[in-house]
């Protein structure tokens, strides 16, 4: 019996330890609650910290997506691919913001239509749900903002001074594209003669990615829009009375000689809202993409190519933007048509150097 009792005592000891262990775990488990009370007493600094962190992420980080494609180029129906939002051109260029990312972030024009919860999950990252207002103003432009109206008091605040990178712009006078004359003879008995030609702009990836150009001033059509402006077309074509009409019948994009398939509605490419690879305006008036563009009396033709990685499959790839032109001539004679190839690179005399514009980014958290 004594030996059995001593065995029971050891079991009691085990039970005692178990009780102690349970109590110990409960006590330890209460400790985080003690720290929570301390944290809640410094709620103001928590809001300021969140505002500071959010501002720094936006201004200094370029964002990241789950599939490696820049987050701003994700299809509009796939916002879940965005892991983290950021507005910087790259991590090498803190506080230099990308206009494409700014448009997508502020949903101007409407694209991702992210909800407040999605902004919180992809940018604020706090365990505690916070209200926010993130506003941005570039010099000379309207203020953009997301979030709720800022309360009068009790919010965390962060201000970041930034610069916005401009798009690469090639501005070509039409006269420089119409140097050579073409002799037209109308067929016997015909009232008009249809003449077709092309004028192209060549974007060389090897030249545009020149490492001697700092990233903040580098043109990258894979991630940034490229703009072509042809000015004074009316002063060249418009003054030739024998030309009754001049139109751009179509626009073709050729990567290393192979035509790039124009994306169809519902596809994932390209990145802009209407699945249009480019937009074109004549004297400020937008032209329906894919339709003919009448240019005979155009003062300024502006062509904006939206970025896409497929344009440059290799490091030395070249993209050709080809305008297929059609002219209607009513009389015989020598005409000056828009034609030829023009390089779009740093060596071009027509390239306007990239310019940075001041802006300010404010983050309010409450």
């Amino acid at each position: 019996m004594m030996k059995n009792d001593s065995g029971l005592l050891s079991l009691d000891f085990i039970v005692g330890f178990t009780v102690f262990l349970a109590a110990f775990i409960v006590v330890i488990g209460m400790l985080p609650g003690v720290y929570v009370n301390i944290q809640s007493s410094s709620a103001d600094s928590g809001r300021d910290m969140t505002a500071y962190r959010t501002g720094v992420i936006l201004a200094e980080d370029s964002g990241i997506s789950s599939d490696g494609i820049p987050w701003e180029q994700q299809p509009p129906m796939r916002p879940e691919n965005i892991v983290r939002l950021g507005l910087a051109v790259s991590k090498e260029t803190p506080n230099i913001l990308s206009p494409e990312k700014i448009e997508r972030f502020y949903n101007v024009p409407a694209y991702f239509n992210l909800t407040a919860d999605e902004y919180r999950a992809k940018l604020l990252f706090g365990e505690r749900p916070r209200n926010f207002n993130i506003s941005f103003k570039e010099d000379g432009k309207e203020t953009l903002y997301i979030g709720d109206r800022v309360p009068d008091a009790g919010y965390g605040f962060s201000k970041c001074y930034v610069k916005v990178k401009d798009a690469g712009r090639l501005v070509v006078p039409a006269g420089d594209l119409t140097r050579d004359g073409v002799t037209i003879e109308l067929p016997e008995g015909a009232d008009e003669y249809i003449y077709r030609n092309t004028t192209s702009f060549i974007l060389s990836h090897a030249n545009l990615s020149d490492r001697s150009v700092p990233p903040a001033y580098r043109i990258d059509p894979k991630t940034e829009r490229a703009v072509i402006v042809i000015g004074g077309i009316n002063t060249v074509l418009g003054v030739q009375d024998g030309i009754s009409s001049a139109v751009i019948e179509s626009v073709g994009l050729f990567a290393d000689g192979d035509e790039v398939a124009m994306p169809q509605n519902g596809g994932n490419e390209p990145y802009n809202m209407s699945n249009k690879p480019y937009i074109c305006t004549v004297d400020g008036m937008p032209v329906e993409t894919g339709s003919e563009i009448h240019v005979k009396d155009a003062g300024v033709l502006e062509f904006v190519l939206y970025p896409n990685a497929i344009y440059f499959p290799n490091s030395d790839s070249k993209l050709e933007i080809r305008f297929n032109m059609r002219y209607t001539c009513l009389t015989d004679g020598e005409y000056r048509f828009i034609q030829g190839e023009t390089d779009y690179d740093y060596d071009s005399p027509y390239l306007i150097p990239l310019h940075l514009t001041d802006g300010v980014l404010e983050v309010c958290i409450w």
């Binding site: 050891s10 110990f24 720290y35 103001d44 203020t143 310019h355």
Partner: protein, 193 residues
């Protein structure tokens, strides 16, 4: 415990001996479990305090000042010079007092304009003040402080933060001393009025 074990070993059948051995092992296991659990939970509750938690106000000023100097030093176009570089060039003492004064005034105008920038989402109270100075090295190797520009006076009652940036300074020189292409330290003390 040791005595009990010896007693059992000396006088009891083999199965009692095994039972006691199992009990001691259980105690050891429990003790280990307690230690591991305690260590796990204790480590899991550690919160590392960040300095920023205690200096949020200073951190905001520091960020504003550093951002401002950074943006003022970034050229707007490739191959150009940043604003700070051009203004520091004219602040070199060997340019003369008129150029120095104009450089200080130009810096003031630009810096204040930046400070007042706002998106309009909040009420932008114009409460930030600053004092800027340039530090350079003279021919004897001594660091020289040159007052440059200021906006408001800090009587010492307002806590300020120091933001600084090294700026390229071409043909920089003190009066009566040699000049060279160098870098000077532009330091801005920033505080809330």
């Amino acid at each position: 415990m040791v005595k009990v074990s010896k007693s059992v070993n000396s006088s009891k059948p083999a199965f009692y001996t095994r039972e006691c051995g199992q009990l001691f092992a259980m105690e050891g296991l429990i003790a280990a479990a307690i230690m591991i659990t305690a260590a796990y939970l204790a480590l899991g509750t550690v919160i590392l305090p960040a300095n920023a938690d205690m200096h949020v106000s200073e951190m905001q000023l520091k960020q504003i000042g550093d951002d401002l100097l950074h943006m003022m030093d970034v050229p707007d176009g490739n191959g150009g010079t940043g604003y700070l570089e051009s203004v520091v060039y004219n602040a070199s003492p060997n340019r003369g007092p008129v150029a120095n004064s104009q450089a200080g005034a130009a810096f003031n105008a630009t810096f204040i304009n930046y400070l007042r920038k706002s998106t309009g989402a909040t009420i932008n109270a114009d409460t930030l003040r600053y004092s800027a100075a340039i530090y350079c090295v003279d021919d004897s190797g001594e660091v020289v402080r040159l007052p440059f520009a200021n906006y408001g006076d800090n009587t010492g009652r307002n806590p300020s933060v120091c933001c600084a940036r090294y700026v390229a300074a071409n043909d920089w020189g003190l009066i009566g001393q040699s000049s060279s292409d160098t870098a000077v330290r532009l330091e801005v003390l920033l505080w809330r009025d």
